[in-house]
């Protein structure tokens, strides 16, 4: 890979982060009370999040149909796709824990990280706890890295004693 391409890849990564955060801000997801107004179906229900997810999903779906025709990405040599296929306990139990925390606070990782810049003390406590949770989990786990950075806890290969 040429030096120029690497620089371009870094620039693209940065700008994509900016665009992603602006999308979160515009959609209202930086405000946990709006996310909770969707997740909490009682009373004054706010279906906005459905449009955020729907808009993002459809945009990605149709874009991916085109991108998948390519042999390689534009700025690096190959695609890094998750290679796991099986639906296992890690996946379901992890999603369950995440859903519980999301439903309690109204924050998932992207909006929480983006909202740090507001300096809101509750956001800082949430992000710190989330980081500790990730770190403790990573530390307790013998790492089994997937392309998406995920880890497997229960079904990884046994460690030599």
């Amino acid at each position: 890979m040429t030096r120029n391409k690497r620089l371009l890849a870094h620039a693209a990564t940065f700008l994509i982060g900016v665009l992603f955060a602006l999308g979160l801000g515009l959609s209202g997801m930086m405000r946990p009370q709006k996310v909770l107004a969707f997740l909490d179906v009682r009373g004054d229900w706010d279906p906005s999040l459905l449009l955020v997810l729907g808009g993002a999903f459809l945009t990605y779906f149709f874009s991916f149909l085109l991108i998948r025709r390519r042999q390689s990405p534009m700025l690096v040599s190959k695609f890094s796709m998750p290679n796991k296929r099986e639906i296992d306990r890690n996946l379901v139990f992890g999603a369950l824990l995440f859903g519980l925390g999301w439903g309690l606070a109204g924050f998932c990782p992207g909006p929480a990280l983006t909202s740090i810049v507001t300096g809101n003390p509750s956001v800082l406590v949430f992000v710190l706890s989330m980081t500790v949770g990730m770190f403790v989990f990573e530390s307790l786990t013998i790492r089994f890295r997937e392309p998406d950075g995920g880890v497997g806890l229960l079904e990884q290969t046994p460690v030599a004693k």
């Binding site: 992603f20 405000r31 890690n90 999301w102 309690l104 949770g133």
Partner: protein
Amino acid sequence: MENFTPVASLLGGVMIGLAAALFMLFTGRICGISGIYGGLLHLKHGDTFWRFIFIAGLLVGGVLATVFIPGAADIQMHLPMGTLILAGLLVGIGTRLGSGCTSGHGVCGMGRLSPRSFVASLTFLGVGIAAATFLPAYLQ
């Protein structure tokens, strides 16, 4: 439904999906925030810098959103400290154990029609709805 913001939310969602698609097109990576951020916690040579850059972009975008999008950063959180910490820990552990969050599974994974991501997304959406609907009554 007086707080319903269909246009802004749909447009914001399209921007999120576009950002994730461009990330795949340019760098070939899944745009999963929990994976990108969590990967920073074990520094691995050659696999750290791009993560920093992405998170830096996220923060700069957050500042721009705060300045230019009215009300974007009007954050109201009134959770007791213990609940807030518990929720953060659950999100941190859950997204790593489950290999993804709303972006990685919900947008990129489902957008690729990955069965794993459909299972994960329907699980965290279902549990999230149940938790947000029924738990607040017990937290008072």
